[in-house]
Amino acid sequence: MVVRSKELRYIRTEDDIAILRTSVKRIVALLNFGPVSQTKVVTAASELARNVFEHGKGGLVEIELLDETDKVGLRMIFVDEGDGISDVTRALEDGYSTTNGMGLGLGGAKRLMDEFHIESNGGGTRVSVTKWDLKA
């Protein structure tokens, strides 16, 4: 797997969330992701960026373009230095039929993407999500 490029975006204001959506939209279109995949990625980005802004006291996201033999991938790593999530398991519990998850939309972001990793402690939170699409 090759990391083709990296981009760093700061998430400090509410506008940054919308700006990030536009950037991500542009990237997934360039990568020729399927239409549903595109929407999923942009939505997940919006959810996670919102978390960084609202609960993480601001932070940043690193966007990586990944390349494998037959597929391309987009990885977004959201990092903030907020108070962290005390109960990650519970936060991931929100199902589409329940309303738990502490309003963090983490479970949703996880279901929208192919890969999901989270580390969280008192010093902050780091969420990494990846979506792959087969090359034509």
């Binding site: 549903v36 494998e68 033999t69 037959d70 597929k71 199902g95 589409y96 087969l134």
Partner: protein, 357 residues
């Protein structure tokens, strides 16, 4: 000798048999070149058997600067002879796959050796992931794929690289009149790099297989989830086999698009062909219905066998307010009814013989 014993420590951590080989190599190098070669080949065989061990030599870096420049000069000097020896050995190898032509052997060998020389000249004998080795790795990736299509096994392609050792070693020995210490470190440096390159070809082969499987899985999924227009405004989705999340995604995408395309407001999800319904499957069904409703349409689930009905109740799955029917026929009747269609049977119409139904 001392240098070798030093290194033996770290090799043992990783691969005892190879350590033994290395020791034997060091012991035998002055005595008999052919014996040395045999043990080197033995190590290759073991290596091939364990091609998954990526980082066998990670902890060993014998390539010092002098070694690097020695190796580089050596290859530059004897480039043509090594190539000749190597290609003649490959061409005379009877076990070579029929799909690989003589010309192909000649071309690939020439190209590889050239790139190999270029990469070594740049000075990095240790890290094949570095930029200097990219052209060589790319050439090998392409070779691995093309050899695979020609019918070669991954071992054969890896042997393409490893067979170079024989030619190299013959030349190293005949050239080594001056110092055996130089010979050891040069040989070891070359072997290390060649092994890594050989592993690379096998990895590429494996990855391209995985890619083929992925593509086939995707095609199969798309083919096995048709969405059929049953009547104006009514769609049917016959689900066959297990309903996993990948299939659910395809069903949702196809169904929702078809709803728009046909302007249908009812979709019948028929699960007659779904062997078991567990909590997961039920979740997937509920998800599909949810998405359908968001579009402004609705679903009827049909094909609910008695056992499935019992399982659903037993598992405590909440089917909410979704309409369900035991048979597709009943579901169709209901779908037509809510769509406002009325089916009439006229005594005079149709030419099939009729009894009472």
């Amino acid at each position: 000798m001392l240098l070798v014993c030093d290194k033996k420590g770290s090799v043992c951590d990783v691969f005892p048999l190879l350590a033994l080989t290395l020791y034997l190599m060091a012991k035998l190098v002055v005595k008999s070149p052919t014996q040395h070669l045999r043990t080197a080949c033995m190590s290759d065989l073991v290596l091939l058997c364990c091609y998954d061990a990526h980082y066998i030599y990670g902890s060993i870096s014998m390539a010092t600067e002098t070694t690097t420049s020695e190796v580089s000069h050596f290859i530059d000097e004897f480039d043509k002879e090594i190539l000749a020896e190597w290609t003649s050995q490959q061409l005379s190898d009877k076990s070579r796959s029929a799909g690989v032509s003589n010309a192909s052997v000649q071309n690939s060998s020439e190209e590889f050796l050239k790139l190999f020389r270029d990469s070594i000249r740049k000075g990095n004998l240790v890290d094949t992931d570095s930029l200097e080795w990219q052209p060589t790795l790319q050439m090998l990736s392409d070779l691995s794929v093309s050899r695979a299509t020609q019918g070669s096994s991954p071992t054969e392609t890896a042997n393409f690289i490893l067979s170079l050792k024989q030619a190299l070693f013959a030349k190293l020995v005949s050239n080594s009149g001056k110092s055996t210490a130089g010979l050891e470190s040069s040989a070891w440096a070359l072997w290390t790099i060649l092994d890594k390159l050989a592993l690379h070809t096998t990895e590429v082969f494996q990855k391209s297989r995985e890619a083929v499987i992925r593509r086939q899985q995707k095609d199969m999924l798309e083919m096995s989830t048709p969405v059929i227009k049953l009547w104006d405004g009514v769609l049917v989705v016959p689900l066959i086999g297990t309903l996993d999340s990948a299939r659910t995604q395809i069903v949702m995408e196809n169904l929702l698009q078809k709803l728009i395309d046909t302007g249908s407001q009812i979709a019948i999800l028929d699960i007659t062909g779904v062997p078991t319904v567990d909590t997961q499957t039920a979740q997937h069904l509920l998800k599909t219905v949810s998405a359908t409703r968001l579009m402004g349409a609705d679903c009827i689930i049909s094909g609910i066998r008695p056992q499935i009905a019992q399982t659903i109740v037993h598992l405590g799955i909440d089917i909410q307010d979704i309409k369900t029917r035991a048979t597709m026929a009943d579901a169709v009747k209901e779908a037509l009814r809510v769509s406002g269609w009325v089916v009439n049977r006229h005594a005079a119409e149709g030419n099939l013989a009729r009894g009472t139904v």
